[in-house]
Symmetry: C2
Subunit: 238 residues, 2 copies
DNA sequence: CAGTGGTCTAGACCACGCA
DNA sequence: GCGTGGTCTAGACCACTGA
């Protein structure tokens, strides 16, 4: 592990253990450099990490301070970016199941061509899965994936985890993803599989996943039961 | 403007103008340093910016490459973090109006105390606003704000923009915010003001806004008409 | 093994806050 | 004007990729 990450980790510990108190100024970069036996640049990089992680903020000419809400974020190791999450109501030791409703290969329609940046002759997998948590259905996925990019998908893979297959079997590295979230009325399919009543809304999430190289490899629209799923995220407004 | 940002900006232009083509390798850091008359460290910082912006990716030992989907992000100037947005269906030249439904001062309940990190004797403003776009109501806000942190809110301010007031009149600097998004059934108030039918869902957004110092200054729950608002965001999964 | 990116240093200068 | 953070350099070493 590089030195700047080590230093950042140590400072994070100090904040967590309240050695550096909330709302207070921490020692200046020169002192820290001396203490940790590094150059000041390295200290600066460490503090930049902690700034992005939301633990501290700096005022030029004044100092570096611990944020009032730092302890909320100080729990886990430093890893920025991981800031969008799906939360399901039930969490503990409940069995996650996937039921494959549909599994085809076909050519993409216009929207799919655009979103996946492929032409109309590039074959895609198309599958629909019902996700079940502790016996209760909670979301219905509709997904298309280019065969060229992610080859070898089988019904077996769909019952397990597609992402695990891509990561572990194909050793492909993920990149960003873009999502759009809406509230929507349930479709006929939703009512059938998610057991929605007529006036039960669904949380609709449209998503494109990219590889590290920027190649889109999955385009999906998921309907979640409104009473079992919410989405949370942190927005860094720099 | 610092040199590393200038360099990043120039490289961004080259990608946008296709001088550096998508999926191709760009010149190595040593050459770029020479060309721009900077040290290699400065080039590295510039490339880091572009990486975070989603324009390029690096493979150690191999080079720096333009991402396949780079042109999507290359439009505007470099500014990361601004990655969560509210999109309203109608955009062009439509008048935005705010109708104040309620405006009080009171003490906070338990949830509000927790979210705003204040005690039960800290007074808060509490207001409810209906937002109207081109004559059509589209969202209903319910907001609480500590009087100490943001003093001087008036009905006049509410009719204009609270954020503009905070930024410009009080010259206070914003920081992060956290949001939770859900689909929900309309409440009686929603039906009345947003003109929702019984089976029209709403998009519920619960939000806490923080100052740069990490002090929370606003806690709100907003209900949006499902057919006028959606939320989009980019997730950097590093 | 040559080329490329990732990290680190010591020292310098500048911009800003604050007394 | 002093102390603080922000930027920059020149040069070094290491880790990794790919021929």
């Amino acid at each position: 592990m590089p030195k700047y990450k080590e230093v950042a980790e140590k400072i994070r510990e100090r904040i967590k253990s309240k050695e550096y108190a909330v709302d207070e100024r921490i020692p200046d970069q020169h002192s820290l450099a001396e203490e940790f036996g590094t150059s000041r640049v390295t200290i600066k990089r460490a503090l930049d990490l902690l700034t992005t992680a939301g633990l501290v903020y700096t005022i030029q000419g004044s100092g570096t301070y611990v944020k009032r809400n730092a302890l909320l974020q100080a729990q886990s190791s430093i890893q920025i970016g991981h800031n969008v999450g799906l939360t399901t109501a039930i969490q503990d030791e409940v069995e996650l199941e996937s039921k494959v409703i549909r599994f085809d290969v076909r050519f993409p329609d216009e929207t799919e061509q655009q979103q996946l940046m492929i032409n109309k002759e590039t074959p895609i997998y198309h599958y629909q899965r019902l996700r079940i948590l502790g016996g209760r259905p909670y979301s219905l996925e509709n997904t298309v994936v280019p065969v060229n990019t992610i080859p070898g998908i089988t019904e077996e893979v769909l019952k397990d985890s597609v992402y695990r297959y891509i990561r572990e079997e194909l050793s492909i590295v993920f990149g960003d993803n873009r999502q759009i979230v809406r509230a929507a009325k349930p479709t006929a399919t939703d009512k059938k599989y998610l057991d929605c009543k007529d006036d039960d809304p669904v949380l609709e999430v449209e998503k494109i996943m990219f590889l590290k190289s920027g190649v889109p490899f999955e385009y999906s629209t998921v309907h979640h039961r409104f009473d079992m799923v919410e989405m949370s995220f942190i927005n860094q407004d720099n």
